[in-house]
């Protein structure tokens, strides 16, 4: 009997002097475990978002163009993975995410100076700052690639490259800073004057790229033969594969935007999937009713429209509103590309505006309606406050609309200036004969398919 008392007592005695040391060790182990979980998810998410550009978007867009333009169209996505990455490392991340003015960041992180393995508490307290940097880079890669849907099949490769460098610098970095950067004008969580909710980039990614795509389509003019000659997608099979990869990659895009492997990430994941599913069905249904047949292209277009629309809302809304947002996005974007586009007669080759511009705008406004603290209780100025209309904050819809207006204004003015400049320097559009030969041959000197080889 006596031993059973003495042993624990002796242990306790031995433990007492360094109890605080052991607590510290325990805290540090807990922190490191959380960091391991969060970092694993964030690196996975970064890889998923890169997969959205190549091969996801490259295949989705590549299948929709004619056979003679498959490589050039894939190049419009692929080359971003090189071009944007280099700029991001040199000055892009700094302009988007270091502290500066409410409109654009400063030069503190130039050459990634000071961006290392220590977390930056403002952006992600549990993951290395480098993780956050590389994750955000993948968004900067895909955004200009989305615009390529509007200028595909007729832009010069040199003009496209120069346009991209200028566009991310003049439009994307400021917009990303305003919405997500510390002290950004629209950043609800880090001291923005006009708090807007954009969980994963509805304004930053989809509205800016969508509206810029429209400006490009109008500026460049129609493709030779559009719309009187039949210009059909050359391989919807490729497009289906690409769209499904976009759907999967979008889990990284939206659920990764929680910057942690937590419950909020799960909410965003579920909402993302629900919206894509509802939108795929609603687009096909609208088509079926209006044109008589549900199509595969309609299904994948709908899924992408739903994913676009849920992007700003994904970390703010309950699952049922996510279904509704998806459903509305499918019908709305179908109407935009099948009716509105033909009414105005512009040639947005792959409907970058009709899907990303229109779907992004719809999603941003609906976020103002359905955002709720029941899903996202991240404090704003140290308080958990009412978020959207369903929480009793109707004013948020106005804030969201201001966010949309700023993204559109910046997109229109910035893109127009850049187009004028690039057109003057290298010329935007290929010669008519080069367009007829196809951009693969005229711009790259190669062909996508050799059936005889």
């Amino acid at each position: 009997m006596s031993t059973s008392f003495t042993i624990p007592f002796a242990l306790l005695q031995a433990a007492t002097p360094d109890l605080s040391a052991r607590l510290t060790a325990l805290e540090s182990a807990t922190k490191s475990a959380q960091s391991a979980g969060d970092n694993a998810w964030m690196l996975t998410s970064a890889a998923l978002v890169l997969m959205m550009t190549g091969p996801g978007l490259a295949l989705f867009y590549g299948g929709l163009v004619r056979r003679k333009n498959i490589l050039s169209t894939m190049m419009h996505s692929f080359v971003m993975m090189g071009l944007v990455t280099v700029i991001w490392a040199i000055y892009g991340y700094s302009l988007a995410f270091s502290e500066g003015t409410p409109f654009i960041g400063g030069l503190k992180y130039l050459f990634l100076n000071g961006v290392g393995r220590e977390p930056n508490a403002d952006y992600g307290a549990t993951v290395p700052h480098l993780t956050y940097m590389i994750y955000q880079l993948m968004f900067a890669v895909i955004t200009p690639a989305l615009i390529s849907g509007a200028y595909a099949e007729r832009i010069k490769f040199s003009a496209m490259s120069l346009f991209t460098v200028l566009w991310i610098t003049i439009v994307y970095f400021p917009m990303a800073h305003m919405v997500w950067g510390k002290g950004g004008l629209l950043n609800a969580y880090l001291g923005g004057a006009i708090p807007t909710f954009d969980f994963a980039g509805g304004t930053v990614v989809h509205i800016t790229s969508g509206i810029s795509a429209l400006v490009c389509a109008l500026y460049l003019g129609k493709r030779v033969g559009y719309p009187q000659d039949p210009i059909k997608p050359h391989s919807l099979v490729l497009s289906v594969i690409g769209a499904c990869m976009l759907w999967v990659g979008w889990f990284g895009f939206n659920a990764g935007s929680a910057v942690a492997a937590n419950g909020l990430a799960t909410s965003a994941f579920v909402n993302t999937h629900f919206a894509a599913a509802a939108a795929a069905l609603s687009w096909m249904l609208a088509e079926w009713l209006k044109l008589g047949k549900p199509s595969m292209l309609g299904g994948i277009s709908g899924a992408v429209a739903g994913l676009v629309a849920i992007t700003p809302a994904s970390g703010f809304v309950e699952p049922m509103p996510a279904l509704l947002i998806g459903f509305l996005a499918g019908v709305f974007c179908f109407f935009m590309v099948s009716t509105v586009k033909h009414m105005f007669g512009y040639d947005d080759t792959l409907d970058a505006f009709g899907v990303h511009g229109a779907g992004g705008t719809l999603g941003a406004i609906l976020t103002g309606i359905f955002a709720t603290k029941a899903i996202n209780d991240t404090p704003i100025n140290n308080k958990v406050i009412a978020l959207g209309l369903v929480d009793g904050n109707p004013g948020q819809i106005l804030n969201q609309a201001i966010g949309v207006a700023i993204a559109m204004g910046l997109g229109i003015v910035g893109t127009l200036l850049i187009l004028k400049l690039v057109d003057a320097v290298v010329g935007m559009r290929v010669e008519r004969s080069e367009e007829e030969d196809g951009l693969d041959l005229s711009q790259h000197g190669e062909e996508g398919y050799f059936f005889e080889a």
């Binding site: 719309p227 199509s295 009716t339 409907d351």
Partner: protein, 112 residues
């Protein structure tokens, strides 16, 4: 010798090929072609944009046979290629002046 040119539905290709093989027609050339006769194309819709596709995919058989076998081959080919619907295709028959086997210089019926 006669040359037979038959334009048939692509899905009938295997059936026609087998039927010809079964009656001992050894040589033929097959190509994928596009065209239309009285059957006028169809409509396709991509994101609400309608296209009328009037040239449809067909398969063209070309074969050269001795005069004596003409009726038998045409009958076999017609039976195998027929689905009874519009778009089943056409058969054209030509006279052939000469046929030469490149390997050994055989001429006429011996070469086909």
């Amino acid at each position: 010798m006669k040359k037979i040119e038959a334009v048939v539905q692509p899905f009938k290709m295997e059936e026609v090929k087998e039927a010809l093989k079964n009656i001992g027609v050894d040589g033929m050339t097959i190509s994928e072609v596009r065209g239309h006769g009285r059957q006028k194309g169809h409509k396709e819709v991509y994101r609400g944009q309608e296209y009328n596709v009037d040239l449809l995919p067909k398969v063209k058989f070309e074969l050269v046979i001795p005069d004596a076998r003409l009726d038998e081959v045409v009958e076999t080919l017609t039976a195998a290629a027929r689905s009874g619907k519009i778009g089943d295709g056409k058969i054209f028959v030509y006279d052939v002046a000469e046929a030469i086997r490149i390997r050994n210089g055989d001429r006429g019926d011996a070469a086909v």
